[in-house]
Symmetry: C2
Subunit: 333 residues, 2 copies
Amino acid sequence: MKAGGFILASKRLIGIDLGGTTTKFAFIDEDGNILTKWSIPTDISDSGSQIVPNMIKSIADQMRREDYNTNDFIGIGMGTPGAVDREKGTVVGAFNLGWDQVQQVGPTITEGLGLPIAIDNDANSAALGEYWKGAGDKADDVVFVTLGTGVGGGVVTNGKLVHGINNGAGEIGHICVQKNGFLCTCGKRGCLEQYASATGVVKVAKSLAKRFTGKSRIKELIDGHEDLTSKMVFFLADNGDILANQIVNEVCSYLGLALSHVGNTLNPENIIIGGGVSNAGNTLLQPTTRYFQENAFKSVRDSTKLKLAQLGNDAGVIGAASLALKFKNDNAL
Amino acid sequence: MKAGGFILASKRLIGIDLGGTTTKFAFIDEDGNILTKWSIPTDISDSGSQIVPNMIKSIADQMRREDYNTNDFIGIGMGTPGAVDREKGTVVGAFNLGWDQVQQVGPTITEGLGLPIAIDNDANSAALGEYWKGAGDKADDVVFVTLGTGVGGGVVTNGKLVHGINNGAGEIGHICVQKNGFLCTCGKRGCLEQYASATGVVKVAKSLAKRFTGKSRIKELIDGHEDLTSKMVFFLADNGDILANQIVNEVCSYLGLALSHVGNTLNPENIIIGGGVSNAGNTLLQPTTRYFQENAFKSVRDSTKLKLAQLGNDAGVIGAASLALKFKNDNAL
């Protein structure tokens, strides 16, 4: 862009990924490339009252360090736990942050930094990140499912995030995969989250170990009341433990089934699996794909691809930053 | 709109709803109101070679009868069975029409009538109709499921139809609702279509009748090898037949479960149930809503409404006509 004979560099975006332990930040260019990234611990003391002031200070400090001012930025995008009012920029019910009352996150940050801000929930932000710069390949229709402590999701159709009438779109973790199955924290039974989250995998392990009669390191750990993690289950499956393989198979059968429901509804080009459990890689992806294909309608089976997420921990800040692209025209020179 | 001192009336749309038995037509105004509607039998003889010529003739005749010429219309929209190439305007694999080879439907109609045409599949057209003028209330996110001979569906998000990468979006009839359940025509087992279509209801009836030990008119009909229809099942359920009520309950449990998967994925404002089976009204809707609520995540359960379709047989022509709205600007005076 030229103005008065000078060539002006394109502006930057600021992405914030607010988590219960760490708050991640990045300065990102308009093409979604990370220019700088950093993080600070999330201070959840005093009902999380320091979270927003700490964010503002951290961004202001970083801008000063890099000799930037507000004119160098288009705006801020942020992903957060809890329920977001996207119009007002408020957040409520983010209990892991201590935010049980409505928080004026957006207005406070805009006042503090002089930049417009767009806020969405963390699963949607990560979905946008993978859609924009990761495994989503900017396909028109992409679904993102994240297997972490819980199971979350984000849905992009016709190139746009779907929120639903009550921000309930993407609640893939609460698709029922087993009638009268494990009791979920949401009050229902048999939700995917109880089988395919990090804690879900351990639940499946304990359930199957009871009936297992052979020799297995997993069974030894459980019988000895030692700690068991989903990571160990996948590691032992890779190393030939029979019970571990049965557990992985069961987890993937539920995940593949739930994703087939999503596939039969939307036939997205890509369904992207992210979150900590997805670090298991092909040990998770292959059997899940098999069960997905077994349950997907022909035209879906032949076209919708299951993929592992590519951006890891950066998906959140990149996707959050993409929310701020909407301010581009408002701020045009 | 004024031009040269005359007030020009707004233009019309033509909607075509092509079915295996009947082809329905309508002239529709830009607000979606039907001005004229009529239908002709669908001639599927000779591999359906007369279908398109018959359509052209029928529309041309009607235009002449009403003293219209092409300038009075924006364009044509059409819903059809089979697989549609929306860009080329071709249709293939509509076996109930005898169309097993690629048909140049769009180009032929445009050549014959001098009007642009947009084609989509019949379930999507009906979904658009209900979205535009029926139970959808033009909400941003609406899902339509049609319970007829089979079970089809259409998905609208952010106000736009979702097709998916291979036109497989809305294949709600092939969501698996019962592991190792009834064999479906698609080759999979336990598809919703095998439980909630008109033939599916009868299948459920026969299956439950085997185990039923009490007195039931349905059991008498089945044991006597007499004809049984889904309509009779719902009628008898309304009249206190115990087995009929068990059948309806089972059908609705599967339908409610499948719709909860759709709800947890998209949280649409409305999920609209249409097709012949939906003529059962509240006898179908109430238990389905109960099972939907039992399986939907809290934020979805509290916001997504299940509704009966409102347009009946007109949904197809109205929705098809809406496809032609995209020609409005091209054809502007």
